[in-house]
């Protein structure tokens, strides 16, 4: 069971109150991109054993979408942050690096 804190209403709730929205920070393929780029955008997802950046919605609460960083192995939630960003906050990345040696943010699926 994950305990997530919604950055919009400040509620610390368990995961049944939220809706998982899959991998975060995916760059959208657009006009002019080739088929390979569209395939990557539509289908290719990371499946790490470890740090994962995800989108979540506070479905039963305020209804807002936000981002979360968690470990898929230990289920530790490193933190949650605003949806209005393309990359995780620097402070959060630094904190994760402290806990997982060798960790580096790789951006979206590519």
């Amino acid at each position: 069971m994950l305990i997530l804190e919604c950055p919009y209403c400040g509620v610390s709730g368990e995961e049944t109150e939220f809706h998982a929205g899959g991998e975060a920070h995916i760059t959208r393929a657009s006009v002019g991109d080739d088929d390979q780029a569209f395939e990557t955008y539509l289908f290719m997802r990371k499946n790490p054993k470890g740090v994962h950046f995800e989108r979540w919605q506070h479905a039963y609460g305020c209804g807002k979408w936000f981002h979360a960083a968690r470990c898929t192995m230990t289920l530790e939630v490193f933190g949650t942050y605003s949806a209005q960003t393309f990359t995780p906050p620097k402070a959060l990345l630094a904190e994760i690096a402290k806990k997982r040696s060798g960790f580096e943010f790789e951006g979206g699926a590519s």
Binding site: C9, C62, G63
Partner: protein, 192 residues
Amino acid sequence: MSDMSVSALSNAQYDGSVQVADTGLRGMITLRGDLADKGLAKAVKAATGLGVPKQRQVLTKGSNGVAWMSPDELLIMVPYSAATQTAADLQLALSGQHALAANVSDARAVFRIAGAGCREVIAKLAPVDMASDKFAPGTIRRTRIAQIAAAFWMVDEETVELVCFRSVAQYAFDILVQAAKNGPVDFHLPKS
């Protein structure tokens, strides 16, 4: 607005050590907009006599209330007969702004859970810490009770008010009654 309007469960009531009751019709307006805006605060004041509540707070005065629903949404509560006019007044006061006032009174059901064990009745159904030092009167929580969306707040230490969609009113009433019927588990003991 017709005089024929009835609440979802026609004031159904269960009397046990904790009482569960359909409170009857209540005027409810969803107001979306910039909550930091002075014009919005003024319109809310004119409609209810109340200010704009802080994050997760609910303000009440008589039969009026204002609840914080999300960073850009308030729930305005007024007597049922005043809802249509209040919604129109709010929309007019906010014209020109990116804001919306919608009368949702007939889409909702309201329940009152009253008695010393009211915290436990909610705790059995919602994934929320109902300990008295964690959830106090004046706080609103949007969450789920069993399988449906609901929002609730405490009017005082022994009274909870809960709103949900009218279409699931019977389900809400039944699970509230069942949770009340099973009696206290003495986990959240009332302050005495």
